[in-house]
Subunit: 451 residues, 2 copies
């Protein structure tokens, strides 16, 4: 029995685990600190109040429960002993014959980590919910704000980073203010909200063609988004952003620029690129460790054009599939060709029925691209139920510009998290008072009619 | 122009606001500290990982946006000056000609508030998500726990309180362990999980008939739930519950017993009952203040049988409708009959296709009652989209025992909440380190195929 340990239940890790499921003499241990697989490409829709987290995520263990030889552990991996061939988690350690690392990346603030509290990034469900809370909060606060300057700052939204995520966030913010909230407020006019997208490069969507990026730019501007290219963020604080010599007073700043490899990479004593990603062999194995592979964002793989492969879902999935094959062959002692990435192109959506797509040499824009985007994403979204639910939410968003998830859920709960149960020091954190929630009682069923 | 201020966007407040919307010369200000109306009767399904919060909640302002004379403010009301006829919120104050208070209730631990962190109640979305997190966490922790005693404690769930909420929670917990998770774990057997429902009274569902309550009891036991009646909780701590002279080692304890009026009631200098609810006249007005009304759970209204009306959604809705009429007539100086509650009966559901219902003198149980329950709740659930989405989720839960929302979302985010932006003291709270989330990258669209 060969023990394969996979760290990370993202696209790469999950694809590898599924690809190895059929292998009789392989015992898989899939370790992730979350209990769910997240469909990251739609995470911005959670942040923009269209979808609920559960609609783009599914429990990892139910995704692999079909295979009795696969066990899923929700643990945080803290280190790997490459010599002893052991993975160390916070409470456990696991021996392996083959190891697949696919931990993804986190945001980097280019040495300005003090910006993070003021400009959350969009990698986790928690971050998405935090962004949603801040955006909706800002409008609510503005409605009850009497000071004009403060009100204007509350209605100013800055997105840093003109990649696909930044473009999608900015476009959605434009839509929310122009359409979704247009009729809901009495004292403010959401249409007066300013949305500013800041990009350091000469153009947004740098990974796309000139045409696509200028098309996206026009689409954004038609949604009222100001696009500032060749602009460098000098400072982000509680109340705004400094860009070049200008200062923008903004209560809501979102970060969509720059990622860096997981801290785990630092502990491995291996070669890392300047972004902290693991430099691997063409077969995704670590130099001197043919039994250890790094996949997805966590790894630096050189593409045919000499540049590293982009950190996108397709790369991660293809690498996961490849590693399943790679390990199967290795077990049989059979040779395996190197990993080759099949580029399926790229897409970015800019709000309702606007998008840019480049598939092979074909370029779409506008509504056709949006439909392609829609179909592709629904198709790949995991879980039949999720797909249906998401289609419904999108139908609502498309037809009525409605947003199904406009809830502001407080981040401060008064309970101690389970994890802290044995950590009294953390329990010392002062719990905020419960507030008597205005709401209907619930001590019996049978609610009566609503007018 | 008559100024009507409504505090609370629950069933009572929302019904009143809608009922007054047609009134030309009325200006309505609806104040709630949340931005959403919550369909409380289904909140336990959020806690039990079937639904997402957004599926049973909708933004208050979009629910009343049709009426230009209604403005919604998301503020926390801290006091009322009955003489000056002013409502004071944290940042504002609002004059009124008529005031409707409908703030709901909160849980009470009968003088043992130190139990709260160990046994969360189920009144708010935050609490529901916290309960969901704890329940799913317990199974995950148990899977990686090596100590048998601790593992058993992790797989023991105690629900305190045998009312409808407690019964529904216990039934759902039984189902989760017996069906939903049955095949997902390798090291533990979820079916070994113990679910214990504790009730001080001689029988559960005391507000129902003997037959219904014994039927519910049998249903619960068929789901593996142990029902302990006439049992008194002496102590709840981090690791378990003391009931009478017995101690149950349990990592998850849920509180569904006892509510008390909002703190606001204490500040009004009015008569309160022993539960802290405002004792009002038969027309829901405050003694000596015919222009101030208290509705929903917050008020104590004596029913035809001499007992106070139960704290359930139908009462709150009917009172809201009544108050709309009452205020309209008052403005015209016309007399208005007292509030009369039309009892539509009661329902409680015990997991999939099990329920008890008492409508008029008719008693249902089992599958028929469950279908009645299902239809009634879908029918009253606000918002077309929500209804469809919920039906889908339930279809999945019914057919496959699946649970659409099995996500463990961390409660500790590293960002400071918007509200705290101007409260540096709160910002002092140490932010937990971000952890590099294992997940697929998201810097481009077009995810490729999933195996």
């Amino acid at each position: 029995m060969q023990r394969v340990v996979i760290v990370g239940g993202g696209f790469a890790g999950l694809s590898a685990a599924r690809g190895l499921a059929r292998e009789r003499n392989v015992e898989i241990t899939l370790i992730d600190e979350r209990n769910y697989h997240l469909f990251q490409p739609l995470l911005y829709q959670v942040a923009m109040a269209v979808l609920s987290p559960a609609e783009i995520a599914a429990p990892i263990r139910s995704l692999v429960s079909g295979n009795p030889r696969t066990s899923v552990l929700r643990q945080r991996v803290v280190g790997v002993d490459l010599k002893e061939r052991r993975v160390h988690s916070e409470k456990d350690s696991h021996e392996y014959d083959y190891l697949i690392l696919a931990c993804g990346v986190r945001h980097t603030y280019f040495g300005n980590d003090q910006w993070e509290p003021h400009a959350p990034g969009l990698k986790t469900v928690e971050q998405a919910l935090e962004i949603r809370r801040r955006v909706l909060d800002a409008f609510e606060e503005a409605e009850t704000e009497h000071d004009a300057a403060r009100q204007r700052a509350l209605l100013t939204f800055v997105v840093v980073g003109g990649g696909p995520t930044g473009v999608e966030l900015a476009g959605a913010l434009g839509e929310i203010s122009r359409h979704t909230l247009a009729r809901d407020f009495r004292r403010i006019d959401p249409m007066q909200a300013r949305v500013i997208l800041i990009e350091a490069a000469p153009r947004i969507l740098a990974s796309f063609s000139e045409q696509s990026s200028s098309h996206a730019m026009r689409d954004l501007e038609s949604l009222g988004v100001q696009v500032w290219t060749q602009s460098h963020v000098r400072r982000i604080d509680l109340n705004g952003v400094e860009v070049g010599n200008e200062r923008i007073e903004a209560k809501t700043v979102l970060w969509a620029a720059g990622v860096r490899g997981p801290d785990l990479n630092q502990t491995l004593g291996i070669e890392l690129d300047h972004q902290g990603r693991a430099v691997v062999n063409p077969d995704l194995s670590l130099p001197d460790h043919p039994e250890v592979f790094v996949a997805g964002d966590q790894s630096h793989v050189t593409g045919p054009d000499g540049n590293p492969l982009p950190g996108i879902a397709p790369v991660a999935m293809q690498q996961g599939h490849y590693l399943a094959k790679r390990v199967r062959k290795a077990i049989r002692g059979a040779p395996c060709p190197n990993f080759a990435y099949r580029d399926k192109g790229r897409m970015a959506t800019i709000g309702r029925s606007r998008a840019v797509a480049e598939i092979a040499s074909v370029r779409f824009a506008g509504r056709p691209a949006w439909w392609v985007w829609l179909v592709v994403h629904i198709y790949y979204l995991i879980g039949f139920k999720n797909r249906l639910v998401v289609i419904l939410q999108w139908a609502g968003a498309f037809v009525r510009f409605s947003r199904g998830a406009r809830l502001i859920v407080d981040k401060d709960w008064q309970f101690y998290p389970m994890e802290n149960v044995d950590a009294p020091d953390q329990n010392a954190r002062d719990a905020s008072d419960e507030q008597s929630k205005p709401s209907a009682p619930r001590e019996g069923g049978n609610p009566s009619r609503n007018p």
